[in-house]
Symmetry: C2
Protein backbone atom coordinates (compact mmCIF):
# COMPACT_ATOMS: atom_id res chain seq x y z
CA UNK A 1 0.00 0.00 0.00
CA UNK A 2 1.17 3.51 -0.82
CA UNK A 3 1.88 5.98 1.94
CA UNK A 4 -1.04 8.38 2.37
CA UNK A 5 -0.33 11.77 0.83
CA UNK A 6 -1.71 13.43 3.89
CA UNK A 7 0.85 13.46 6.71
CA UNK A 8 -1.16 15.12 9.45
CA UNK A 9 -3.28 12.21 10.61
CA UNK A 10 -3.96 11.19 14.17
CA UNK A 11 -5.00 7.57 14.67
CA UNK A 12 -8.78 7.38 14.99
CA UNK A 13 -10.19 6.67 18.41
CA UNK A 14 -13.71 5.66 17.56
CA UNK A 15 -16.41 6.47 20.02
CA UNK A 16 -17.45 2.84 19.61
CA UNK A 17 -14.79 0.28 18.73
CA UNK A 18 -15.03 -2.77 16.50
CA UNK A 19 -14.69 -5.29 19.31
CA UNK A 20 -17.51 -3.63 21.23
CA UNK A 21 -19.80 -3.71 18.20
CA UNK A 22 -18.94 -7.35 17.58
CA UNK A 23 -19.75 -8.33 21.15
CA UNK A 24 -23.10 -6.59 20.92
CA UNK A 25 -23.92 -8.08 17.50
CA UNK A 26 -22.87 -11.58 18.52
CA UNK A 27 -20.69 -11.96 15.46
CA UNK A 28 -17.49 -10.61 13.96
CA UNK A 29 -17.27 -8.13 11.14
CA UNK A 30 -15.35 -9.04 8.03
CA UNK A 31 -15.29 -9.41 4.28
CA UNK A 32 -16.43 -12.14 1.91
CA UNK A 33 -14.78 -11.26 -1.39
CA UNK A 34 -16.49 -12.95 -4.34
CA UNK A 35 -14.43 -13.19 -7.51
CA UNK A 36 -15.47 -14.82 -10.80
CA UNK A 37 -16.22 -14.30 -14.47
CA UNK A 38 -19.12 -12.16 -15.67
CA UNK A 39 -22.36 -14.15 -15.27
CA UNK A 40 -20.73 -16.68 -12.94
CA UNK A 41 -23.42 -15.86 -10.38
CA UNK A 42 -21.63 -13.48 -8.00
CA UNK A 43 -24.34 -10.86 -7.52
CA UNK A 44 -27.19 -13.35 -7.38
CA UNK A 45 -25.40 -15.38 -4.71
CA UNK A 46 -24.38 -12.24 -2.85
CA UNK A 47 -27.95 -10.98 -2.54
CA UNK A 48 -29.30 -14.39 -1.56
CA UNK A 49 -26.54 -14.77 1.01
CA UNK A 50 -27.19 -11.30 2.41
CA UNK A 51 -30.80 -12.27 3.06
CA UNK A 52 -29.82 -15.64 4.51
CA UNK A 53 -27.35 -14.04 6.94
CA UNK A 54 -29.80 -11.29 7.86
CA UNK A 55 -32.47 -13.88 8.72
CA UNK A 56 -29.88 -15.52 10.96
CA UNK A 57 -29.25 -12.26 12.80
CA UNK A 58 -25.93 -11.55 11.11
CA UNK A 59 -25.53 -8.02 9.79
CA UNK A 60 -24.56 -8.27 6.14
CA UNK A 61 -24.26 -5.81 3.30
CA UNK A 62 -23.51 -6.31 -0.39
CA UNK A 63 -21.18 -4.16 -2.44
CA UNK A 64 -21.27 -4.94 -6.14
CA UNK A 65 -20.68 -3.29 -9.48
CA UNK A 66 -24.20 -2.02 -9.58
CA UNK A 67 -24.11 0.01 -6.37
CA UNK A 68 -20.44 1.06 -6.70
CA UNK A 69 -19.98 1.83 -10.38
CA UNK A 70 -22.86 4.31 -10.43
CA UNK A 71 -21.65 6.07 -7.26
CA UNK A 72 -18.25 5.87 -5.59
CA UNK A 73 -16.52 4.80 -8.82
CA UNK A 74 -18.68 6.66 -11.32
CA UNK A 75 -15.53 8.50 -12.44
CA UNK A 76 -13.75 5.29 -13.42
CA UNK A 77 -13.79 3.26 -16.63
CA UNK A 78 -12.58 -0.28 -17.28
CA UNK A 79 -8.90 0.06 -18.14
CA UNK A 80 -6.65 -2.13 -15.98
CA UNK A 81 -5.59 0.90 -13.93
CA UNK A 82 -9.17 2.06 -13.40
CA UNK A 83 -10.35 -1.43 -12.49
CA UNK A 84 -7.56 -1.66 -9.99
CA UNK A 85 -8.47 1.71 -8.46
CA UNK A 86 -12.13 0.68 -8.35
CA UNK A 87 -11.24 -2.47 -6.40
CA UNK A 88 -8.94 -0.56 -4.07
CA UNK A 89 -11.83 1.75 -3.18
CA UNK A 90 -14.18 -1.18 -2.71
CA UNK A 91 -11.66 -2.86 -0.41
CA UNK A 92 -11.40 0.33 1.66
CA UNK A 93 -15.19 0.64 1.95
CA UNK A 94 -15.43 -3.05 2.85
CA UNK A 95 -12.94 -2.38 5.63
CA UNK A 96 -15.08 0.46 7.00
CA UNK A 97 -18.20 -1.74 6.87
CA UNK A 98 -16.33 -4.55 8.66
CA UNK A 99 -15.18 -2.04 11.25
CA UNK A 100 -18.81 -0.99 11.67
CA UNK A 101 -19.62 -4.63 12.46
CA UNK A 102 -20.89 -5.86 9.11
CA UNK A 103 -20.11 -8.93 7.12
CA UNK A 104 -19.46 -7.14 3.84
CA UNK A 105 -20.08 -9.24 0.74
CA UNK A 106 -18.04 -7.71 -2.08
CA UNK A 107 -19.05 -9.21 -5.43
CA UNK A 108 -16.72 -8.10 -8.21
CA UNK A 109 -15.18 -9.86 -11.19
CA UNK A 110 -11.80 -8.69 -9.80
CA UNK A 111 -9.97 -10.60 -12.54
CA UNK A 112 -6.39 -9.97 -11.40
CA UNK A 113 -4.64 -11.69 -8.52
CA UNK A 114 -2.74 -8.53 -7.70
CA UNK A 115 -5.97 -6.58 -7.11
CA UNK A 116 -7.43 -9.32 -4.92
CA UNK A 117 -4.19 -9.52 -2.97
CA UNK A 118 -4.35 -5.79 -2.47
CA UNK A 119 -7.93 -6.09 -1.16
CA UNK A 120 -6.77 -8.73 1.30
CA UNK A 121 -3.82 -6.71 2.47
CA UNK A 122 -6.02 -3.63 3.00
CA UNK A 123 -8.38 -5.67 5.14
CA UNK A 124 -6.03 -7.96 6.99
CA UNK A 125 -8.06 -10.13 9.35
CA UNK A 126 -11.44 -11.68 8.62
CA UNK A 127 -11.09 -11.46 4.85
CA UNK A 128 -12.12 -14.49 2.78
CA UNK A 129 -11.63 -14.90 -0.94
CA UNK A 130 -14.43 -16.92 -2.48
CA UNK A 131 -14.09 -18.11 -6.03
CA UNK A 132 -17.44 -18.23 -7.82
CA UNK A 133 -16.53 -20.72 -10.48
CA UNK A 134 -18.12 -21.46 -13.84
CA UNK A 135 -16.50 -22.11 -17.20
CA UNK A 136 -16.49 -19.48 -19.92
CA UNK A 137 -18.94 -21.46 -22.11
CA UNK A 138 -21.34 -21.80 -19.15
CA UNK A 139 -21.15 -18.09 -18.34
CA UNK A 140 -21.53 -17.17 -21.97
CA UNK A 141 -24.57 -19.40 -22.32
CA UNK A 142 -26.23 -17.62 -19.37
CA UNK A 143 -25.35 -14.05 -20.36
CA UNK A 144 -28.35 -12.51 -18.54
CA UNK A 145 -27.39 -8.95 -19.49
CA UNK A 146 -26.32 -9.79 -23.04
CA UNK A 147 -22.81 -8.51 -22.32
CA UNK A 148 -20.90 -11.46 -23.77
CA UNK A 149 -22.90 -11.03 -26.94
CA UNK A 150 -21.99 -7.33 -27.06
CA UNK A 151 -18.35 -8.13 -26.30
CA UNK A 152 -18.19 -10.75 -29.07
CA UNK A 153 -19.66 -8.18 -31.41
CA UNK A 154 -16.79 -5.88 -30.48
CA UNK A 155 -19.06 -3.38 -28.72
CA UNK A 156 -17.41 -3.72 -25.27
CA UNK A 157 -13.70 -3.19 -24.81
CA UNK A 158 -11.76 -4.93 -22.04
CA UNK A 159 -14.49 -7.45 -21.28
CA UNK A 160 -13.28 -10.20 -18.97
CA UNK A 161 -13.25 -13.60 -20.63
CA UNK A 162 -13.45 -12.16 -24.12
CA UNK A 163 -11.02 -9.30 -24.50
CA UNK A 164 -9.46 -9.15 -21.01
CA UNK A 165 -7.96 -11.92 -18.88
CA UNK A 166 -9.37 -13.65 -15.81
CA UNK A 167 -6.83 -15.07 -13.40
CA UNK A 168 -8.43 -17.77 -11.22
CA UNK A 169 -7.48 -17.59 -7.53
CA UNK A 170 -4.54 -19.80 -6.66
CA UNK A 171 -5.58 -20.45 -3.06
CA UNK A 172 -9.10 -19.20 -2.43
CA UNK A 173 -10.69 -19.74 0.97
CA UNK A 174 -13.67 -21.36 -0.71
CA UNK A 175 -14.62 -22.48 -4.23
CA UNK A 176 -18.28 -22.40 -5.24
CA UNK A 177 -19.04 -24.27 -8.44
CA UNK A 178 -22.13 -22.62 -9.87
CA UNK A 179 -21.93 -24.60 -13.08
CA UNK A 180 -22.68 -27.91 -11.40
CA UNK A 181 -24.33 -26.88 -8.13
CA UNK A 182 -27.84 -25.47 -7.68
CA UNK A 183 -28.22 -21.94 -6.38
CA UNK A 184 -29.64 -22.91 -2.96
CA UNK A 185 -26.83 -25.38 -2.36
CA UNK A 186 -24.27 -22.74 -3.31
CA UNK A 187 -25.79 -20.22 -0.91
CA UNK A 188 -25.77 -22.79 1.91
CA UNK A 189 -22.10 -23.59 1.30
CA UNK A 190 -21.07 -19.97 1.69
CA UNK A 191 -23.50 -19.45 4.55
CA UNK A 192 -21.92 -22.35 6.50
CA UNK A 193 -18.48 -20.92 5.89
CA UNK A 194 -19.63 -17.49 7.04
CA UNK A 195 -21.32 -18.73 10.19
CA UNK A 196 -18.30 -20.85 11.09
CA UNK A 197 -15.94 -17.91 10.78
CA UNK A 198 -18.00 -14.92 11.85
CA UNK A 199 -19.92 -16.46 14.75
CA UNK A 200 -16.67 -17.42 16.44
CA UNK A 201 -15.96 -14.56 18.80
CA UNK A 202 -12.44 -13.31 19.50
CA UNK B 1 -23.76 14.66 -10.64
CA UNK B 2 -21.85 13.35 -13.63
CA UNK B 3 -23.18 10.41 -15.63
CA UNK B 4 -21.39 7.21 -14.62
CA UNK B 5 -18.80 6.16 -17.21
CA UNK B 6 -20.05 2.62 -16.98
CA UNK B 7 -23.20 2.14 -19.04
CA UNK B 8 -23.96 -1.51 -18.34
CA UNK B 9 -25.54 -1.20 -14.91
CA UNK B 10 -28.67 -2.92 -13.71
CA UNK B 11 -30.42 -1.29 -10.76
CA UNK B 12 -29.46 -3.09 -7.56
CA UNK B 13 -32.08 -5.25 -5.96
CA UNK B 14 -30.62 -5.71 -2.51
CA UNK B 15 -31.25 -8.94 -0.74
CA UNK B 16 -32.26 -6.75 2.19
CA UNK B 17 -33.66 -3.30 1.51
CA UNK B 18 -33.19 -0.08 3.44
CA UNK B 19 -36.79 0.12 4.66
CA UNK B 20 -36.59 -3.41 6.02
CA UNK B 21 -33.37 -2.66 7.88
CA UNK B 22 -34.86 0.53 9.28
CA UNK B 23 -37.94 -1.26 10.58
CA UNK B 24 -35.77 -3.86 12.28
CA UNK B 25 -33.42 -1.26 13.76
CA UNK B 26 -36.24 0.97 14.95
CA UNK B 27 -34.67 4.04 13.37
CA UNK B 28 -33.94 5.49 9.96
CA UNK B 29 -30.57 5.57 8.30
CA UNK B 30 -29.11 8.89 7.23
CA UNK B 31 -26.25 11.33 7.36
CA UNK B 32 -25.20 14.00 9.82
CA UNK B 33 -22.69 16.09 7.91
CA UNK B 34 -20.48 18.13 10.26
CA UNK B 35 -18.72 21.11 8.68
CA UNK B 36 -16.44 23.60 10.41
CA UNK B 37 -12.96 25.06 10.68
CA UNK B 38 -9.99 22.96 11.78
CA UNK B 39 -10.11 22.55 15.58
CA UNK B 40 -13.75 23.65 15.75
CA UNK B 41 -14.50 20.34 17.51
CA UNK B 42 -15.97 18.22 14.70
CA UNK B 43 -14.20 14.92 15.39
CA UNK B 44 -14.49 15.18 19.15
CA UNK B 45 -18.22 15.82 18.92
CA UNK B 46 -18.63 13.12 16.27
CA UNK B 47 -17.05 10.44 18.46
CA UNK B 48 -18.99 11.53 21.55
CA UNK B 49 -22.21 11.57 19.55
CA UNK B 50 -21.50 8.13 18.11
CA UNK B 51 -21.22 6.71 21.60
CA UNK B 52 -24.31 8.58 22.80
CA UNK B 53 -26.41 7.24 19.89
CA UNK B 54 -25.03 3.74 20.28
CA UNK B 55 -26.01 3.75 23.97
CA UNK B 56 -29.49 4.73 22.85
CA UNK B 57 -29.69 1.77 20.46
CA UNK B 58 -29.13 3.84 17.33
CA UNK B 59 -26.55 2.43 14.94
CA UNK B 60 -24.03 5.16 14.25
CA UNK B 61 -20.66 5.30 12.55
CA UNK B 62 -18.15 8.14 12.18
CA UNK B 63 -16.30 8.98 8.99
CA UNK B 64 -13.63 11.60 9.46
CA UNK B 65 -10.36 12.73 7.97
CA UNK B 66 -8.46 10.30 10.11
CA UNK B 67 -10.13 7.11 8.90
CA UNK B 68 -10.66 8.30 5.30
CA UNK B 69 -7.47 10.15 4.44
CA UNK B 70 -5.27 7.18 5.35
CA UNK B 71 -7.44 4.73 3.37
CA UNK B 72 -10.07 5.47 0.74
CA UNK B 73 -8.55 8.86 -0.08
CA UNK B 74 -4.90 8.07 0.55
CA UNK B 75 -4.22 8.96 -3.09
CA UNK B 76 -5.53 12.51 -2.70
CA UNK B 77 -3.85 15.70 -1.55
CA UNK B 78 -5.38 19.01 -0.48
CA UNK B 79 -5.80 21.01 -3.68
CA UNK B 80 -9.37 22.27 -4.21
CA UNK B 81 -10.00 19.54 -6.81
CA UNK B 82 -8.65 16.78 -4.56
CA UNK B 83 -10.59 18.04 -1.55
CA UNK B 84 -13.72 18.04 -3.66
CA UNK B 85 -13.07 14.48 -4.85
CA UNK B 86 -12.36 13.40 -1.27
CA UNK B 87 -15.72 14.79 -0.14
CA UNK B 88 -17.54 13.23 -3.08
CA UNK B 89 -16.19 9.83 -2.06
CA UNK B 90 -17.12 10.41 1.57
CA UNK B 91 -20.65 11.36 0.53
CA UNK B 92 -20.95 8.15 -1.51
CA UNK B 93 -19.71 6.02 1.39
CA UNK B 94 -22.07 7.84 3.75
CA UNK B 95 -24.90 6.95 1.38
CA UNK B 96 -23.95 3.27 1.50
CA UNK B 97 -23.80 3.36 5.30
CA UNK B 98 -27.20 5.05 5.43
CA UNK B 99 -28.56 2.42 3.07
CA UNK B 100 -27.13 -0.21 5.41
CA UNK B 101 -29.20 1.37 8.20
CA UNK B 102 -26.61 3.54 9.92
CA UNK B 103 -26.66 7.12 11.03
CA UNK B 104 -23.39 8.13 9.41
CA UNK B 105 -21.64 11.03 11.09
CA UNK B 106 -19.33 12.60 8.50
CA UNK B 107 -16.96 15.08 10.16
CA UNK B 108 -14.98 17.04 7.58
CA UNK B 109 -13.91 20.65 7.30
CA UNK B 110 -15.66 20.66 3.89
CA UNK B 111 -14.96 24.37 3.47
CA UNK B 112 -16.83 24.95 0.20
CA UNK B 113 -20.59 25.24 -0.18
CA UNK B 114 -20.43 23.53 -3.55
CA UNK B 115 -18.89 20.39 -2.04
CA UNK B 116 -21.46 20.27 0.76
CA UNK B 117 -24.26 20.78 -1.74
CA UNK B 118 -22.87 17.91 -3.77
CA UNK B 119 -22.83 15.70 -0.66
CA UNK B 120 -26.46 16.59 -0.03
CA UNK B 121 -27.51 15.91 -3.59
CA UNK B 122 -25.73 12.54 -3.58
CA UNK B 123 -27.61 11.55 -0.44
CA UNK B 124 -30.98 13.11 -1.00
CA UNK B 125 -33.22 12.24 1.94
CA UNK B 126 -32.19 12.13 5.58
CA UNK B 127 -29.13 14.34 5.11
CA UNK B 128 -28.49 17.06 7.69
CA UNK B 129 -25.83 19.73 7.47
CA UNK B 130 -24.54 20.67 10.90
CA UNK B 131 -22.34 23.70 11.29
CA UNK B 132 -19.78 23.23 14.05
CA UNK B 133 -19.09 26.86 14.73
CA UNK B 134 -16.15 28.56 16.40
CA UNK B 135 -14.26 31.69 15.44
CA UNK B 136 -10.84 31.54 13.86
CA UNK B 137 -9.13 32.98 16.98
CA UNK B 138 -10.87 30.37 19.14
CA UNK B 139 -9.86 27.49 16.85
CA UNK B 140 -6.35 28.82 16.57
CA UNK B 141 -6.04 29.10 20.34
CA UNK B 142 -7.03 25.41 20.70
CA UNK B 143 -4.88 24.03 17.88
CA UNK B 144 -4.60 20.54 19.44
CA UNK B 145 -2.50 19.17 16.60
CA UNK B 146 -0.35 22.27 16.15
CA UNK B 147 -1.57 22.64 12.57
CA UNK B 148 -2.43 26.34 12.71
CA UNK B 149 1.04 26.95 14.05
CA UNK B 150 2.54 25.01 11.15
CA UNK B 151 0.31 26.79 8.67
CA UNK B 152 1.27 30.22 10.03
CA UNK B 153 4.88 29.20 9.69
CA UNK B 154 4.20 28.45 6.02
CA UNK B 155 4.72 24.71 6.45
CA UNK B 156 1.20 23.71 5.35
CA UNK B 157 -0.23 24.79 2.01
CA UNK B 158 -3.98 25.25 1.48
CA UNK B 159 -4.80 25.23 5.19
CA UNK B 160 -8.41 26.28 5.84
CA UNK B 161 -8.65 29.54 7.78
CA UNK B 162 -5.05 30.52 7.05
CA UNK B 163 -4.26 29.94 3.39
CA UNK B 164 -7.56 28.56 2.09
CA UNK B 165 -11.12 29.87 2.50
CA UNK B 166 -13.93 28.58 4.72
CA UNK B 167 -17.44 29.33 3.50
CA UNK B 168 -19.92 29.11 6.39
CA UNK B 169 -23.16 27.29 5.58
CA UNK B 170 -25.93 29.64 4.47
CA UNK B 171 -28.79 27.49 5.76
CA UNK B 172 -27.49 24.66 7.90
CA UNK B 173 -29.97 22.30 9.55
CA UNK B 174 -28.32 22.97 12.89
CA UNK B 175 -25.66 25.32 14.27
CA UNK B 176 -23.53 24.14 17.19
CA UNK B 177 -21.54 26.89 18.85
CA UNK B 178 -18.53 25.18 20.38
CA UNK B 179 -16.91 28.45 21.34
CA UNK B 180 -19.56 29.33 23.88
CA UNK B 181 -21.17 25.96 24.65
CA UNK B 182 -19.66 23.15 26.72
CA UNK B 183 -18.97 19.86 25.00
CA UNK B 184 -21.69 17.87 26.76
CA UNK B 185 -24.31 20.46 25.92
CA UNK B 186 -23.19 20.46 22.29
CA UNK B 187 -23.44 16.67 22.09
CA UNK B 188 -26.92 16.76 23.60
CA UNK B 189 -28.09 19.35 21.09
CA UNK B 190 -27.07 17.18 18.14
CA UNK B 191 -28.32 14.05 19.86
CA UNK B 192 -31.79 15.59 20.28
CA UNK B 193 -31.84 16.60 16.64
CA UNK B 194 -30.78 13.10 15.59
CA UNK B 195 -33.33 11.31 17.73
CA UNK B 196 -36.10 13.61 16.53
CA UNK B 197 -35.29 12.92 12.88
CA UNK B 198 -34.04 9.37 12.85
CA UNK B 199 -36.44 7.81 15.35
CA UNK B 200 -39.41 8.99 13.27
CA UNK B 201 -40.25 6.04 11.07
CA UNK B 202 -41.47 6.44 7.49
Amino acid sequence: MAEPKSKNLTPVLHGVGRAERERKNGHRGGVLWFTGMPASGKSTLALRLERRLYREGIMAYVLDGDNIRGGLSADLGFSPAERSENLRRVAEVAKLLADAGFVCIAAFISPLRSDRDQARSINGRDFYEIYIKASLPACEARDPKGLYRKARAGLLAEFTGVSAPYEPPSSPDLVIDTEHGGIDACVEQIFSHAVRHFRQMP
